[in-house]
Symmetry: C2
Subunit: 337 residues, 2 copies
């Protein structure tokens, strides 16, 4: 054993909180082949009829765990060394990342501890448990989450897998766009939801890796528009208050993701919750697609004319389909006229 290569238990690996390089993206692509689904690309006629242009949809709601998050989580878990595998992984998450990490860890035979705030959506908490994750409850504040996670790390020596500020996670998310651009070689414009920025950063890096000229358009909920403000300010800006039903997009843009987004996004647009709910309902009723509010943002941007549907061949990533039928988003969507 080369002691020099070991890092102290429980300490985040130096340099992980950064964007991945080309070799890491190539490794993620090779590593995930066969372990994750190549999700289908659909181009619903109803959407084409409404927008006057064919739109290709990358359907990550059909990914394992119901969201693209399985890609980054599986890539991170698969990258662990022997000692790290023994000590397990941990994260704090109120949603899809926690379920994805629990699933990836179980698949790899690794223990996962997920710190879950008490206000998390019931169905997402249930999913973490279903995929074999050990849940540690905490208060709703960011400081509560971080304190609980620090305790898990101190106790078990677990490796923290951040939901987006992690080169391994971003490289995994990039595979969604690689698959999409391979399935749809003509795409020249791609809409991607932006929360912490992992999926969008992966999209930018994937297009570069494939040497494709593709405009990447970020879409953010108006009630969690820290990326828009950060781009305007030229540095990361934290919101005092986040108010959106798109529960997967409430996180602040990351230290690793922001510089890539600032340089690589062609545009960033915001959509109101009312537009998100209308798009979600339209997806259900007309396209027969189950998508969660975060995924509906890109559809909302197209339907509300915030992003152009043509003439350049356009695609959008539907990021996930995990909704709670007794939750507020579903209730409000159903109550729409």
């Amino acid at each position: 054993m080369k002691i020099a290569n070991r890092k102290p238990a429980g300490q985040p690996e130096e340099g992980i909180r950064r964007a991945p390089g080309k070799a890491e993206i190539a490794a993620a692509r090779a590593r995930l082949a066969g372990r994750l689904r190549t999700t289908p690309v659909l181009a619903p006629g109803e959407l084409q009829a409404r927008l006057g242009a064919r739109i290709a949809l990358k359907c990550e709601q059909f990914q394992v765990t119901g969201a693209f998050k399985a890609r980054g989580a599986m890539n991170a878990v698969s990258s662990l060394g022997g000692g790290e595998r023994e000590r397990g992984v941990a994260t704090h998450s109120s949603g899809n990342h926690g379920a994805a990490l629990a699933w990836a860890a179980r698949t790899a035979g690794v223990r996962a501890t997920i710190v879950v705030p008490e206000n998390a959506v019931a169905s997402k908490r249930a999913a973490i448990r279903r995929f074999g994750g050990e849940i540690v409850d905490c208060g709703p504040a960011q400081t509560d989450r971080e304190a609980a996670l620090a305790e898990v790390v101190a106790r078990a020596g677990a490796t923290v897998v951040h939901p987006y500020d992690d080169a391994r996670v971003i490289a995994g998310q990039a595979t969604a766009t690689i698959e999409f651009l391979e399935a749809e070689p003509r795409l020249r414009r791609l809409l991607v939801p932006v929360g912490g920025g992992g999926l969008a950063t992966g999209a930018i890096l994937a297009a570069r890796w494939l040497r494709r000229e593709v405009e990447i358009i970020g879409v953010e909920p108006a009630g969690a528009d820290d990326t828009r403000r950060s781009l305007a300010a030229g540095e990361r800006v934290a919101l005092e208050r986040v108010d959106t039903l798109a529960d997967g997009l409430r996180a602040q843009v990351g230290v690793a993701t922001f510089p890539v987004l600032r340089e690589g996004l062609s545009d960033l647009v915001t959509v109101a919750d009312a537009e998100i709910l209308a798009a979600m309902r339209w997806a259900f009723e007309t396209m027969k697609l189950v998508i969660e509010p975060s995924a509906a943002t890109v559809l909302a941007a197209l339907l509300a004319g915030k992003a152009a549907a043509g003439p350049a061949p356009t695609g959008a990533i539907l990021s996930g389909g995990n909704i709670d039928f007794s939750g507020e988003a579903w209730q409000r969507m159903r109550a729409l006229p």
Copy 2:
């Protein structure tokens, strides 16, 4: 104009109430290419994990009008002669066939009149209107429907397009199975919902046309099991009472379809409404697929062990995704524990 080839206006064409021959199936396939969608085939990992066998799903909820019915309707409308086109088409339908015929007629520039019983599901009535169909209201009884339709035929000379007892319609429905068997050449067992029997008859004839050894398994709601009883009796049996939430499968098996089903079905199984609703909910929550109760029957048969999921490569046709969010099926599904 060759008068000998004209038939009296308003009279159903002699010989249409029969199963189509091979040339008619070949013609339907050629005619519908490019006018209808080749719907995707999905094989969700969640279903494979639960059943221990890969199941291929032909997703007709993604077909134009949200159901396979567009196939038969478009084939019938496309087969019309010039005089027939001028006089329009008509049918009675409380659901997907009416919407499909309205859509097919509008696409072909033909007028469609749909007789709709007053107890029809609101969303399906709205779909008929959205696709440009002219609605004639009638009472809920079969005799009310037939009287209203006869009046339309007498007034306008419209050509009646029956939802399943029509060689043109059956030939159109056969294209769903042709596409499925071409996309999944290894399939040896296929589950198909049975109402009037058009889709299942089309499946049997499609397998023969392609010279494939495929077992076709019909699935019927227990509360509308006239086909099961008819097969047992050796002749068509009418139910005194139909009681199922699978609103697309309430019709009696047809004069044209029954002989083909009797000869060609390998098995026919029934599923209870509770099993249908559980399958529909599982499709929504776990597979992220919007399917209507009629489509959920085949999934219910697999999940409840009424039909074997393996070892022979198995497929199922999800017939449609048109559900009413304020309707009883949806409400009862949501109320499941």
